[in-house]
Amino acid sequence: MYLKRIELEGFKSFADRTVIPVERGLTGIVGPNGCGKSNVVDALIWVMGERSAKALRADAMDDVIFKGAEGRASAPYAMVEIILGDEKGEIVEAGGEVAVGRRLFKTGEAEFLLNGRKVRRKDVRELLMDTGLGVRGYMVLAQGKIAAVLEANPAERRSIFEEAA
């Protein structure tokens, strides 16, 4: 399995539906301060099932829903989907796509989606573990967290390894 693209809508500063293609090799994400680069990182952490608002730099989970801007109303919901390519047909037919999604409504209703169907958080995490993508651990490193690896106490460092074991 590999990642084909990330799709965001109403998530933090991404009011409009935005598609970010993921290609092979090394891709750079650039732009001025405050334009939304780290919000993309948060989107990935969120869709993989993160439950702590603090890990998303938010005070409460509904802070991830677009709050509005100049001349633009707030969004009714936040949604992030990651589209995986299923080369070997592990989940769907070979060469098909698997869409893993998460949505949170202003009303508080929250759901996880697998190819458009509602599933449990547990199902999404099991799928991600099976594909080798993992559920966050060491493959998504948020801004400023690199120093925390050394500053953490020995017991906290275990979590990086357990994810990999």
């Binding site: 990642l3 090394l26 891709t27 650039v30 633009r72 490193l141 390894f161």
Partner: protein, 165 residues
């Protein structure tokens, strides 16, 4: 479970020593499990000695040296259990030019099997990427993705600045 953990730990230990020596062009680093504890409960201790320096204490390392040591550990975990995708947010902020180049050298070796995305403000990192995506706020407060032509890196951030007040 215990065998798996110990096996992964030893694999990471080997890669950590090798990547550290490469990024620092010498020196010696190692990870050990807290003594006299069951591997499933033990914490992870890190020691690092830099080439030509006597000190072994992590706290005496400089900002850039701590970042590079943490990146060595992260890449070592990565090498032991590759994930198809990795997203790093401004991990190059504290590095000098020579260390950025060496870090990207290692990342590029892994990028045959892994899709790497890095958020960065560093010109050298930008120039080593195969493609750049820009995140900008043409309409204030609303993020969108734009494509950035590699040729205009020197002014890429300037050209993406949100419109003048």
């Amino acid at each position: 479970c215990r065998e798996r953990f110990v096996e992964t730990f030893e694999l990471v230990q080997g890669h950590f020593e090798q990547i550290f020596r490469r990024l620092f062009r010498g020196g010696k680093a190692e990870i050990t499990l807290t003594a006299d504890m069951d591997p499933l409960d033990a914490g992870i201790e890190i020691t690092a000695r830099l080439p030509g320096k006597n000190t072994k204490k992590l706290s005496l390392l400089s900002g850039g040296e701590q970042t590079l040591t943490a990146l060595s550990l992260l890449l070592a975990v990565f090498q032991s259990r590759p994930s198809p995708f990795c997203l790093l947010d401004e991990v190059d902020a504290a590095l000098d030019d020579a260390n950025v180049e060496r870090f990207i050298d290692v990342v590029q070796e892994f990028s045959d099997n892994t899709q790497f995305m890095v958020v960065t403000h560093n010109r050298i990192t930008m120039s080593r990427c195969e493609r750049l995506f820009g995140v900008t706020m043409r309409k204030r407060g609303v993020s969108m993705l734009v494509s950035v032509d590699m040729a205009d890196i020197p002014s890429s951030e300037a050209s993406m600045s949100p419109s003048e007040q």
